[in-house]
């Protein structure tokens, strides 16, 4: 006889109609559960996340089936992925059984599940079930025994884990009972293709035939009831993420990373700018809360959270979800403290690691926009002063705007107002223009370009702050004023290419200014120097040195520029010792999100924490390619007690030292 099994054995085909009715009812309960969430999500503002449908579907299927985002963190992630694939196999297998029993057999009289196919099918499913059980046990131990820091245990976790254990175990018991009555006594060898059932079947071998039949029937209904329970529980427990996190992979934005919607300041009918209540968010911001599984990956990477500041990106997301349900028209400020919102460095570590595609950063910026534009609030008086300085003199320090180009006095650089026929416009930025330590970046970059025969122009006193810090602090008005002035100047001079040494200027000019009408190519000096080296226009003498490299958030995570600066430094003779947190996992210096102009009053110093990470590599040199980072590290080295042990340098300084004629 060919290997197969009788579907609905001991249950009878009479069960088909009530079974399907119950399944439909359970699915109905599930759909209704999500349906009831719809009004909660719809409290948010309109936002189109259904365009480019094909690409969205493709991305969603890719992310879900590959489990790529979950497995970026091995702890928990690998278990989740293997559990997912096993459970998926069980789902597909069960569906196949249903198709076989209720479509293929009655309508076409074909039995796919027979012979070698059945053996393979049976073995695959049994192994998947065992694997799922093992993974579930692992996850159980992780959550309840190991209890990683920050992983909170909530009621959902008990319900979900119990339900999944019960479904898997009852499935094996059910199989075991059936095999004890059918396959085990015959010993045809078929039982070996159901190792899980074979094992479970041993429990039932001593039962009388009659008891066995009754036991099997009870187990079947019990297992079935649990599956129905699974459907019903789905929208009301963390299991909802099967739907919502998957949906979020579809709904994720297509805009370049770091894109912030440009506010229409001409709209005099607008009564609210930024988010003051839940209803000021987009629907997607509210939906994000439902996609969150509280995996705490965002929180443990957050530089503010790690240094004991009152911000947790996880809490921001869950609190928005809670408020959307309980008090959608209430002031957000009553729940989400200003201190928390101002603590964000917009480093994007949270968003980058989030397996659920949640958009943390823009939520915080939207709330900051309301604080700044609607309430005139500041994180501190020093920020009020810096903002006023930018308004008057175009730089946060308050230096005379006319002295912006003074650093280049002896360098015979062409000012665009006198000679605009240049290869590149160097957009210097405030720090390299005015800050004593950072002027070295500007001077060295000029030396590099001169050595490569590049003709550089600067705007000098016609350049203003790019507006990045104030934009990230929520002051869209001041940002747009300074941006428009810069754009007008740049356009006047018919510029071919812009190069910046500051990743913040780079992001702003290359991405944010597009929205305001600037469409000239913009490059960061790391890739520009890389290009000069590749083209043979610049040659470096390799002088050996040991270093560790810090990825600026706005260069690595935001702009995917990770390898180029490292390659340049290797060509310069450097041997790199990586910090644990590097590349996309880099840990912010603390200066992003406008924090560069704010005092760090709460918690520990982020820069000192990063300097400590650099010290741990044993390398004596910390290289970065961002004036903000350099500023923070010079400070972090002093306050972190690393003077004499660690030196902070910029990429341009290393390269300029090694130029060969």
């Amino acid at each position: 006889m060919e290997a197969t099994r009788q579907i609905y054995w001991n249950i009878g085909h009479g069960v088909v109609i009530p079974m399907y009715l119950l399944v439909f009812a359970a699915v109905g309960v599930m759909v209704y559960g999500f349906w009831r969430r719809l009004p909660v999500w719809c409290q948010g503002k309109r936002l189109d996340r259904f365009d480019r449908y094909d690409e969205r579907v493709k991305r969603m299927l890719g992310e879900v089936f590959s489990q790529a985002k979950v497995t970026r963190v091995t702890d928990g992630g690998v278990f989740h992925a293997i559990f997912f694939w096993s459970f998926l196999a069980l789902l597909v297998g069960t569906t196949l059984v249903m198709v076989q029993a209720d479509v293929l057999t009655p309508l076409l009289q074909v039995n796919l599940l027979s012979g070698e196919v059945y053996k393979a099918f049976s073995l695959t499913l049994d192994l998947a079930g065992i694997l799922a059980l093992v993974m579930l046990t692992g996850l159980f131990i992780r959550r309840f025994v190991i209890q990683p820091k920050g992983l909170e245990i909530v009621n959902d976790d008990y319900i979900v884990l119990q339900l999944l254990f019960a479904i898997l175990i009852s499935g094996f018991l059910l199989e075991g009972a059936r095999m004890a009555a059918t396959e085990l006594p015959l010993k045809t060898g078929l039982e070996l293709f159901s190792p899980g059932g074979l094992l479970a079947g041993q429990l039932f071998t001593s039962l009388t035939a009659e008891t066995l039949l009754v036991t099997h029937k009870i187990l079947w209904w019990f297992h079935f009831a649990l599956v129905l329970g699974f459907f019903c529980a789905l929208p009301h427990t963390k299991l909802r993420h099967i739907f919502t996190t998957t949906a979020n992979a579809f709904l994720a934005p297509f805009e370049p990373k770091g894109f912030i919607a440009t506010i229409n300041l001409e709209d005099d009918s607008a009564e609210q700018f930024g988010a003051a209540t839940i209803c000021d968010f987009s629907w997607k911001d509210i939906f994000d809360a439902d996609a969150c599984t509280s995996c705490k990956r965002c929180q443990e990477r957050c530089p503010a959270y790690v240094t004991d500041k009152p911000l947790s990106p996880l809490k921001i997301v869950t609190q928005i979800g809670e408020l959307a349900e309980s008090n959608p028209r209430g002031k957000l400020g009553e729940t989400l403290s200003q201190d928390a919102l101002w603590s964000c460095t917009t480093c994007r570590a949270c968003q980058d690691i989030c397996p659920a595609n949640i958009e943390h950063v823009n939520k915080i910026i939207e709330m900051r926009r309301s604080l700044t534009l609607m309430e005139g609030a500041f994180p501190g008086d020093e920020v009020r002063t810096a903002v006023s300085n930018i308004e008057v003199n175009g730089n946060p320090f308050g230096f005379a705007y006319a002295s912006r180009g003074d650093w280049a006095e002896e360098l015979q650089l062409s000012r665009m107002e006198h000679d605009a026929d240049v290869d590149i416009l160097y957009f210097v930025g405030c720090y390299a223009s005015f800050d004593k330590r950072n002027k070295a970046i500007a001077r060295n970059f000029i030396a590099i370009c001169k050595a490569a025969g590049v003709k550089i122009g600067i705007l000098g006193k016609e350049e203003k702050c790019c507006g990045e810090p104030v934009r990230k602090l929520g002051n869209e008005y001041l940002y747009q004023i300074t941006a428009h002035e810069n754009i007008q100047r740049i356009k006047d001079y018919n510029v071919k290419k812009i190069v910046t040494t500051c990743p913040h200027c780079f992001n702003t000019l290359a991405r944010d200014y597009r929205d305001l009408g600037l469409d000239i190519p913009v490059e960061h000096y790391s890739t520009y120097i890389s290009g000069l080296l590749d083209a043979g226009r610049l040659r470096l003498a390799s002088k050996p040195f040991s270093f560790t490299y810090h990825d600026s958030c706005y260069l690595g995570r935001y702009m995917d520029i990770i390898e180029q600066p490292r390659n340049i430094l290797r060509q310069a003779g450097g041997s790199l010792v990586e910090m644990d947190q590097n590349g996309y996992d880099s840990f912010c210096c603390g200066a992003g999100g406008g924090r560069i102009i704010a005092e760090e009053r709460l918690g520990g110093k982020i820069s000192a924490v990063r300097v400590k990470m650099a010290l741990d590599t044993g390398a004596p040199l910390l290289v970065s390619s961002c004036p903000f980072c350099l500023t923070m590290f010079e400070d972090g080295i002093k306050t972190g007690g690393a003077e004499g042990l660690m030196q902070a340098m910029d990429l341009a300084e290393i390269v300029a030292e090694r130029i060969t004629a």
């Binding site: 700018f273 005139g376 705007y401 002295s403």
Partner: protein, 258 residues
């Protein structure tokens, strides 16, 4: 109740000041302008009073100068003033405090203002005369350098800053003029809806000739930076290098090593 606040647009103090062609005032080349700091306190206090008085109160902001002063008027409107008067005068910097005060008082005399706010002095001219002279012209009660302000039951009570950190309390009935000092308040940052609303508020432009009949009593005859008497040098670098540098300086410029 009608209120007036007088403000001036002044150069940012970080600007590089060069004498103008006539050598009697600074050149405006490469100078950034902003609202006089003390006037910001005046505007804030006036707006707070305006808000407390509610319906029926009206706050006018006034400034004298060329077209560029519209920027500070707009800021004051965005902070909460109801309307603005721009006394258009391209030659305001050549006028002495007596003339400036006369312009303001001839603007204000028939308007029925009950309380006038002004900065204690401007950051460029620093005469501290305009506010008090306006009060004298109009026959208003006047007090200066206030660091606290309260208006209740038809009476103004202010705290004044005295020498050595001492404070004095002064009461005066309207009509009155007060000049404002640092410490009075923290000027608000205009909100975006208010900036947008301010664009629609009225700015009345009045040519200065319509208001000025007085001759100058004081003439500025010179403007120059202090003579450079000595300078400091900040040395930077490794300690070993610093020692060498200090040694060279001591040897070349002083007698201690000879």
């Amino acid at each position: 109740m009608k209120l007036l606040v007088c403000i001036k647009q002044v150069p940012d103090q970080e600007s590089r000041f060069e004498p103008d062609a006539a050598g009697v005032w600074y050149s405006e080349t490469d100078v950034a302008f902003r609202m006089n700091e003390y006037d910001e306190y005046a505007v804030e206090q006036a707006v707070q009073l305006r808000e407390n008085l509610g319906e029926g109160a009206e706050l006018t902001v006034l400034s004298i100068g060329p077209d560029r002063v519209v920027e500070v008027l707009k800021k004051a409107l965005a902070m909460g003033c109801d309307n603005a008067a721009h006394i258009l005068d391209n030659d305001a910097s050549r006028k002495d405090p007596w003339q400036i005060a006369s312009i303001i008082s001839s603007y204000a005399e028939d308007k029925g203002f009950e309380i006038i706010f002004a900065g204690m002095q401007s950051q460029d001219r620093c005469s501290a005369q305009v506010g008090v002279t306006v009060a004298e012209h109009l026959g208003f009660a006047c007090t200066t350098t206030i660091v606290g302000f309260e208006y209740a039951n038809g009476m103004i009570t202010v705290r004044r800053e005295l020498e050595g950190g001492m404070k004095g309390v002064v009461r005066l009935p309207p009509p009155a003029l007060v000049t404002c000092q640092l410490g009075l308040n923290v000027p608000r940052y205009p909100t975006l809806p208010n900036i947008i609303k301010a664009k629609k508020k009225e700015i009345t432009v009045i040519p200065v000739a319509d208001l000025l009949s007085e001759e100058a009593l004081v003439a500025t005859t010179g403007f120059y930076p202090p003579a450079k008497k000595c300078g400091g040098i900040v040395l930077e670098g490794d300690v070993a290098e610093l020692v060498d540098k200090v040694f060279v300086i001591l040897k070349e410029k002083t007698a201690v090593l000879r």
